[in-house]
């Protein structure tokens, strides 16, 4: 058994652990490099659990998230990252958009 990386009641999301990324740059890179089927599958899996995920995370302060909760929190940020790909564009990148690699974030 590999070590569990998410809180126990969210083990069903373990398969998406690769989306648990700390920075917008990392999340965006993964979105841009992923196939639409994978993005959509992740989106649907996360969206289906958000009503449990958000109240669970609420018990911790932002600054003192335990490691497993922090990984889960980063998954919610990746849901925000991929939402427009699924809901607006139907493809990983902005349709006919400016090159996101040139649009440099100075935040995390």
């Amino acid at each position: 058994m590999p070590e569990a990386r998410l809180p126990e009641q969210f083990r069903d999301l373990e398969q998406w652990i690769g989306w648990s990324l700390e920075t917008e740059g990392e999340r965006s890179d993964r979105r841009q490099a992923s196939a639409m089927e994978d993005i959509t599958a992740f989106y649907e899996a996360m969206l289906a659990r958000m009503e449990e995920v958000l109240p669970y995370l609420e018990q911790f302060s932002l600054e003192e998230l335990p490691d497993d909760a922090k990984r889960l929190f980063y998954l919610t940020l990746s849901l925000a990252e991929v939402a427009p790909a699924v809901e607006q564009f139907g493809q990983p990148s902005v349709v006919d958009g400016y090159d996101i690699k040139r649009f440099v974030a100075s935040h995390r």
Partner: protein
């Protein structure tokens, strides 16, 4: 209160001709030359950028005594250090050693007691005074009290830091901001302290960038995917802004928001915990008089443009800014910042993530045409832009610049 979705006088479909209120602007085409001419660009640098109040940051970048940040301003041929001194006072200086002219501070921000030149070790306090000169006795008649860093005029409005490179500016910052600035005072800028920022260098003239954000005519076309029904409706298919106001050099338009906007699933989730550029349930009572000035129920946001290159777009619960920094006739550094209250929990942080990602996607659409546009402007095939009524701010912006540049008045 139920929001009406049928025709309303300020839904943008009332047939107002905004140009009639400003007959001095005319209605004809405007020249393309200012967006491609190297001569025009040089005049803008000399007559506008080196003489006008310029936004370079916010006070949250200098929270403690000893904090500093550097703003390189190639458009003004300088680099400026912004400091908060031991006494808490905010000051600005040219980033240049008094000895042999070396650039003093090389990193972009930090906190320190002194600035020490890497070349010969001259050291300055955060108040700009020259504190220490190695081997000082070898200089003849060194007047240390006259060899401080060269000060730059700096002032703060609503937490925004402005500088002016003209040692004797013809107007104060308050005068420069005028009625537009006064009307915004009281907006909760000081409460919205979490900043997400992007920047990019585009191969386009700074006015080509700026003009792209100064009309909503492009929204149903360029943003048909990212914002399909947020700023348009069956009654207002062309995203007509419902109020315009031109001041001497600044201006504002109030942008229509569709009350029938259908939020996506993740948007719906995000809006439970925070604001976004497409959220609609706002508290009008809290807004200062210069925000949604007509108190329209169709208000989405106000696009406020502060001359020459600073935009402040205010929404309910979030705001964003643009700074368009000219680098060359066909090169611009574009900085975008979006602000939220400090997240109190993970749900609020998730909400902000969605909001900033959605904004980013719309901005990537906004930026997508600009280099292609510039490349065709350079062809010279056409000499003029043709503007419609809703592009009033583009027309005004070009006139204000030309009034200061005087390119078409030159002998």
């Amino acid at each position: 209160m139920a929001i009406q979705t049928h025709h309303d006088t300020d839904a943008g479909t009332n047939g107002t001709v905004w140009h009639e209120a400003y007959p001095e602007l005319g209605t004809g085409p405007i020249p393309i030359e200012p967006c491609v001419s190297a001569e025009y660009f040089e005049l803008e640098r000399e007559r506008i950028y080196k003489k006008t109040w310029l936004n370079v940051g916010r006070i949250e970048q200098l929270p403690r005594p000893g904090d500093y940040f550097v703003k390189d301003l190639p458009v003004c041929d300088t680099s400026v250090i912004l400091t908060r001194g031991r006494d808490g006072v905010l000051q600005a200086f040219h980033n240049m050693c008094s000895h042999r002219g070396n650039k003093i501070v090389w990193d972009q921000h930090g906190s320190c007691q002194n600035f020490t030149c890497k070349f010969h070790g001259w050291s300055y306090g955060l108040d700009g005074s020259l504190r220490f000169v190695p081997d000082e006795e070898r200089f003849c008649d060194l007047k240390k009290d006259r060899l401080g860093l060269t000060p730059v005029r700096a002032d703060v409005w609503e937490g925004f830091i402005f500088i002016n490179l003209d040692p004797t500016p013809p107007e104060t910052l308050t005068e420069h901001l005028g009625e537009l600035g006064a009307g915004l005072e009281g907006y909760p800028f000081a409460h919205l302290t979490t900043c997400y920022a992007w920047s990019t260098e585009l191969k386009a003239n700074w006015k080509v960038l700026k003009d792209a954000f100064h009309e909503a005519y492009h929204v149903p076309f360029l943003h048909k995917r990212s914002l399909p029904d947020s700023f348009t409706s069956p009654d207002n298919p062309y995203a007509h802004a419902f109020a315009f106001r031109l001041y001497e050099r600044n201006h504002r338009m109030s942008v229509f928001g569709n009350p029938g906007h259908q939020p996506s699933p993740v948007e719906l989730l995000a809006h439970r915990f925070g604001a976004s550029i497409v959220k609609r349930d706002w508290e009008m009572a809290d807004l200062p008089p210069g925000v949604n000035p007509t108190r329209s129920q169709f208000w989405a946001f106000d696009a406020n443009m502060i001359f020459p290159n600073f935009d402040v777009f205010v929404f309910d619960g979030t705001y964003l800014t643009h700074n368009f920094w000219p680098l060359a006739p066909a090169r611009t550094l574009w900085e975008v910042k979006t602000y939220f209250p400090a997240a109190q929990n993970t749900a609020q942080r998730f909400s902000q993530e969605y909001s900033k990602v959605l904004l980013r996607e719309a901005l990537l659409e906004d930026a997508s045409t600009l280099e292609a546009t510039q490349s065709m402007l350079a062809s010279g095939a056409k000499k003029e832009f043709v503007l419609q009524d809703q592009e009033l701010l583009v027309r005004h912006g070009h006139k204000v610049i030309e009034d200061m540049v005087g390119f078409y008045r030159r002998p």
